[in-house]
Every structure is written in structure tokens, then in C-alpha cells.
Symmetry: none
Subunit: 422 residues, 2 copies
């Protein structure tokens, strides 16, 4: 019996409420040049008070030394182990889910960038001058009309849908027409990641893809390739977005939802598409809210009675980390601290504050370092840690555990797990 | 997907250099009679300074409570999990590799001791009075002539090779002659570990051996037994080395090398045969160097440009621990400390200092206790630990992790791992 199976077997329903507040990329570094982390620098009276009444610990997102993307980082926080089937959700599917699209099984999704090529077909701009969203939407309508003209099916039985995203981004959904062999997502990116070269043709990636076989990928490439070329030709007359690049071919993994696995009524309050997409893939109800923590709290207050598990996502910490801007990261943490009383005022039975991974300002990127965790409940074990920081958390009562074990700990603190064995 | 498969998938090549300095058996104990460990007693200004700029932690070599031999201890440091196929390399193969011999697949290797029996065939000395190496070599030539006389194949199609080692030690390599069934290594030691008794005959060990089947072992025993007796008879006229004992029957496991698994250019700087053997089995280039740390540093300086992963082995800490000599262990640590500036002067991008296991002086043996780890890189996370000691390491930023996870951590710190997932 795996841990997941055991947790499902022990699941109890009750009306206690769990809040998981994810400060994206909150973990930071002490280095020779940056002697204190963002959490150490920040003035956080509310968090300090909470830490003194809580258990601290550290979460390892995807295994020692492994730097996770946002997908695996969040899936782990929701209880999915890094090596569980489907836990490596592709970027295409994440983008589509984030746009609020339904992604049926057997649908291959790619994330698209509109781009600019010169008269010889060589790349001038991989993002088509970052055209505004309205312009991207207009071009997507162009492509949609072309697709509609053929009844939604192009080439050798390839059903296609196009959906605009933000700015120069869009997604393409491919699905085998009735009576034809299924498509599969083992295709390489067509983005050469380099200007002055041609976009790459559609080819099988050769790598192994969970759930897909190598041969089927070659067959898929043979069928999708001409369709993509046909759509690219449709844009030749455009000034800036006169072609497109595709990345992150993927399909929706068959993830059992956290509702089903843990008998939860889960809600997600996240503004950014990617996180909304991951939450939806995990069976959460994704609620409309803006991009700010204040807006998420507004929504939380409204729907407090309707769910018993709330995932709240704060993006600013990660963005500041990616920018290498320690002061900005400190600022976001202090803003969250100032608003925390509103969250505490709702009286959650279990509150966890952590991150999906570290995004240390000195590295300007995600990293593998353990992320500090603050866990409060009436039975969390009040340890000796005085502040919510990386270093204090080393000696916290929770210890250093895989992120994927957090879900079980939250359920336990909420009394949502029966005893194992007699 | 296993952790190993994930690491391989994420492997990136760059020119940053990793140094793993293994102080064999460095971990020690605090007991009622020995209130401070060797690392605590030693005066180590360089290590102290380094520790203040580093992340500390602890490595568990083979699982809680498991005391590893040198083979599993080092394999874990090189990233092989204790239960991965082939990670339990036999002593015979290690000895042969350490002598610089090629060990082809399907070759069964045993480590031999020349020994002395009395007129009744009862053991008087299990090491033949520790005859000098030249004497051991002479006797090996005797055996080799006997083997050559039969064209290298004795008995029922058993190809045999003999190679002298140090003092009373040698190795025998057995390989099935063309057209005969393969041999396999599931044979018991012939050393009864007791004087006044007869050497044991060749028999199947009955235990399971990775890659071998029980029945094949009985068949191998039937074929090898008479060959061994024939070779033993050849020594009857010798005064001291008038027979031999065989131990550690084994073959070379099919280990994928760290070069292949992690896209490294790995080099080993180790003086003693066993460690050279393990490194070779892991795909490292084993460089000639003496037995001292100073000599290893000489060689390291010469070949710094040619590799990006260096395993340096210091044996003295383990030898002193085995002797129960705390002062000697302290002395070795202080010698290493004094020479460390030469290593630091090369400017490694990642430096790890640890041991393959603990060899506490009060126990005079290997033990299961976690081994302190010092990890330095620009992004290691500078924690609050002031010295490289067992007790400080408990609260280090790396935490307490399996030794087999160290490799991934080193690769991460060297920027040699791509991000996992989008």
C-alpha cells in the first residue's frame, strides 16, 4: 500500500477548514553577498507572533538537489509525489487549463508564441514584439476562421482548436478526428531558442513521455506537421506575428483529484493562469479572484462556508526573486504580513504557510533549497522557533520533509484522518 | 521514474568543478569515556573558517542503523542507492579492480590469502606469517606456471588467472572456457575464520546473489572445487604459504558509470586499491597518486583542467579509528586542515567534505552513525554552524540525508541540473 492509498483509506470528512497559503518562491539564500534572506530581513510582527505559537519545518519540493518548475512544485504541495504518474504536467496543458479551457483526454496541447520571421524565414523576434493581447486575439480569430472553414479538421484527420492567451501567447489543441488513430504528445519544441535561424519543423522528441510510446509520436508528428505549416502560412501577410513557435506538447494526466483522494471540498484562490490550471488538474474548484492577496482574501471571506480546503497563491515573492530584487521580495512578504489578520480572523482550523520552491534573489531563478513551513493548528506542537525563517525552520518540530507529505500533515491536524490499524 | 532516472534526464554539462573530499571513517562518537569526537578535539582553523561560510549537514550511508563496508559507503557517496542493482560490489572484484586488473563480465573473482596448514591439514596461520609481497609474487608465479601448463584452462573447462596483491594477498579469476556454461559467484568463503580447523571446501553459499541463480552456483562449485584443490596441492612443498583461503566470490556488477549517469568527467585520486577499485567500477578515471593527501593534491593540481568531478580519498582517519587511536585520528584531521589551502587555492566551484561512514575510535570499527558533511558553493546556503563537527552538523542547512542523495546536491550546486518540469 502506498502512502497515497493509505491516506485515502483513512480519509474522514468533517467541517474543519484547512488553509494552505503558498508564497511562491519564498525560500531564499544566505550568501557571502546577501547575509540575510528575505524572510530574515522582512518586518513581520504578525508572522512572528504566529511562528511563536506554531510548528516550523522545511519542505523539500522534488527531492534533494532537484529544482522544480511551478507544476511539480505545486503538485507536491497538494500531495502528489514527484514520481507519481502525471505529476510532471506539461506546460501546454498547464497554459490551457490556466485559460479556463476544458482539456479532454487524448487531446494534445501546445503552448504557442507568435513570432516574427524575415523574408528568408529566419527568426527576427521570438515574441513578435510582444504584441498586445487584443492583437493576439485578432490573429487567433484569423486562425480559427481558417480552421472553421475546414469544419475544424485539417490535414490527415487532425482536429484543431486555437485559443488566445496573454499578449503573444496562445494555445493549440490537437485531437484525432473520429475513426483515426489517437495523437500523442511526444513532440519536440519548434522554438529554436535562437534568432537568425528557422523555426524547427514538428518532430518527435525521441524522449520518453509518460503515457506515450515512441512510435505513436512519429506518427503524430507526420500528421500534425503539415497542419502547423498550413496555419503558419495563414499569417504570412501579418507585419509582426507572421509565424508562430510551439512548445510544451503535452496532454492532461489522469490525476485523481484531491477531493476524491482526501474527501475534501477544495477551492483555489489564485490569480495567475498557471496555478489556476494546476489546481483545476487536481480537482479543485478554481474561484475567480484578482492577482492581489487582498482580492484573494475578499473572495475567501465570501466563500468561507462552502469549502474545507483553501489554496491561496501569492505570486509576488517569486517574481521578485526571479528579478533578483531582495527589497521587492521583502516588500511582498511585509504586505502579506499586514493582511494576515484578515485570514486569521476567519478562524481556520489549520493554517500552513510555505512555498512551492525557493526562488533565491541571488540566483534569480527557482532553486532546490528546502522551503520553510509554518504550520498552525491547536495540535501542531509549539516548538522553540521564534520567527518564520529558513534558518529557524531547520530546528522546527515538523522537521525537513518532502513537500508531498504536507497534505497528510494538514489532514491530520484537521482531524481528517482516522487511526491506522487497531 | 526513479530519482536516478530523473537526475540523468536533467543532467547538464558545464565546466564547473566539483571536489568530493572523503575523510574515510571521519565520523566519531561522544561516549562517557570519550567526551569529544576527533573533529571536536582537532584544531582546524581552515575548516572552521570554511564551515562558517558553508552549509553543514549529515549523511546516512546505508540507512538508519546499517553499518556499511567501504564498497557500499563509497557507492552511496557516488550516488548509487544501497538497493540499486550492483551496489553491493563483492570484495573479490574490489580487490581485483584495485590491483588495476580488467574484470570482464561473467568472470568470477575471489580474494585469496596464502595460509599455513600443519601436516594434518589444520590451519596454523590464516595469513602465512604475513609473507612479504615479493614472496607472495613468487608463489603466484608458481601457480601461474601450473595454469599455463594446461593452456590456462583447468578441470572441467575452468579458465583461471592468478594475480599477486600485497603481502599474503592475491586474487583468482575464474571464467568458463568457450562452449561451457557460465560460472557464477554464489560461493561461500573457504576461510573458516578459525585456527586448528581445515580450510572449507568450495561450496555454493546458498544465499541469493544478485544476478545469479542458486542452481548455477552449485554447478559452479562442482567445477571450481577440483581446480582450487589442484592449485592448493601445488603449494604443498612451501614452508609457510602451503595452502590458500578464498573469500568474497563475486563478479563485476553492471553499474552505469557516473560519467554516463551525470554527464561528468570524473577523476579519482585515491592511493589504496579498494577505493581505486570502487571508483573504477563507477566509471571514474583513476589517477596514479601516492597514499598521502599531499600527493593527491600534487596530482589534483596537475590534472585540474582535465575533469569536472574529483573524488579525493584520505585513508588515515579510518585507520586511526580502527586502531581506537583518537590522537592519531585528530592528527590526520589536522594534517588535512593544514593542506586544505592548496585545495581551496584551485578554486573549486563546489566542495564537499565528508566520510563514507563513521569509524568511531571507541568502537574500533565502522559504524552506522550519520557522518558530518560540509558543503561549500556560492549558493550552498550559509547556515549558523561554526565548526565542522558531528554535533554542529545536526543543525546544518543540508539536514540529515542519505549519502546517495549527495551526488544530486553537488550537481545542483554546480549548476549541472536542469529544472524539473514547467
Amino acid at each position: 500500500m502506498t502512502r497515497q492509498e493509505l491516506l485515502t483509506r483513512l480519509a474522514l470528512r468533517n467541517d474543519r477548514r484547512i488553509v494552505l497559503l503558498v508564497l511562491d518562491g519564498v525560500g531564499d539564500l544566505r550568501t557571502a553577498d546577501q547575509p540575510r534572506t528575505a524572510l530574515e530581513v522582512a518586518r513581520t510582527p504578525i508572522l512572528d507572533d504566529l511562528a511563536a505559537r506554531s510548528a516550523l519545518g522545511r519542505l523539500v519540493p522534488a527531492g534533494t538537489g532537484i529544482t522544480p518548475g511551478s507544476g511539480p512544485g505545486h503538485l507536491a504541495l497538494f500531495g502528489y509525489e514527484p514520481d507519481s504518474p502525471g505529476a510532471d504536467i506539461g506546460r501546454g496543458v498547464l497554459e490551457a487549463l490556466g485559460l479556463g479551457l476544458e482539456v479532454p483526454p487524448d487531446t494534445v496541447v501546445a503552448r504557442g508564441n507568435f513570432a516574427t520571421v524575415d523574408g528568408d524565414g529566419l527568426l527576427l523576434d521570438r515574441r513578435a514584439g510582444r504584441i498586445p493581447t487584443a492583437e493576439g486575439e485578432r490573429i487567433c480569430r484569423l486562425l480559427a476562421r481558417r480552421i472553421e472553414a475546414d469544419g475544424g479538421v485539417l490535414g490527415d484527420g487532425v482536429g484543431v482548436e486555437v485559443h488566445a492567451g496573454e499578449a503573444y501567447r496562445f494555445v493549440l489543441l490537437f485531437r484525432a478526428a473520429d475513426g483515426t488513430a489517437a495523437l500523442e504528445p511526444g513532440l519536440a519544441d519548434t522554438d529554436p531558442q535562437q534568432l537568425g535561424t528557422r523555426p524547427l519543423p514538428i518532430e518527435a522528441s525521441g524522449g520518453s513521455v509518460a503515457g506515450g510510446s515512441g512510435e505513436a509520436a512519429w506518427e503524430t508528428a507526420r500528421r500534425i506537421g503539415p497542419v502547423v505549416e498550413e496555419l503558419q502560412r495563414e499569417l504570412r501577410a501579418e507585419e509582426r506575428a507572421n509565424t508562430f513557435l510551439l512548445r510544451g506538447f503535452s496532454w492532461l494526466p489522469a490525476l485523481p483529484g484531491v477531493d476524491e483522494l482526501h474527501r475534501l471540498r477544495p477551492a483555489a484562490l489564485a490569480g495567475y493562469p498557471l496555478y489556476r490550471g494546476v489546481a483545476r488538474a487536481c480537482g479543485m474548484e478554481v474561484l475567480d479572484c484578482g492577482n492581489s492577496f487582498g482580492q484573494a482574501l475578499d473572495r475567501l471571506e465570501q466563500c468561507w462556508a462552502d469549502f474545507d480546503y483553501f489554496f491561496l497563491h501569492v505570486k509576488g515573492t517569486d517574481m521578485a526573486g526571479e528579478d533578483g530584487d531582495l527589497a521587492a521580495k521583502v516588500g511582498v512578504i511585509e504586505e502579506v504580513d499586514a493582511l494576515l489578520p484578515r485570514l486569521l480572523g476567519l478562524g481556520p482550523d489549520v493554517l500552513a504557510i510555505s512555498g512551492d520552491h525557493s526562488t533565491p534573489a541571488p540566483m534569480k531563478a527557482h532553486s532546490w533549497h528546502p522551503v520553510p513551513l509554518l504550520l498552525w493548528s491547536e495540535c501542531c506542537f509549539v516548538d522553540d522557533c521564534a520567527r518564520f525563517t529558513e534558518t529557524e525552520a531547520i530546528r522546527g518540530a515538523v522537521g525537513t520533509i518532502p513537500s508531498s507529505e504536507l497534505m497528510g500533515l494538514l489532514l491530520a491536524n484537521a482531524g481528517k484522518l482516522a487511526k491506522f490499524g487497531a
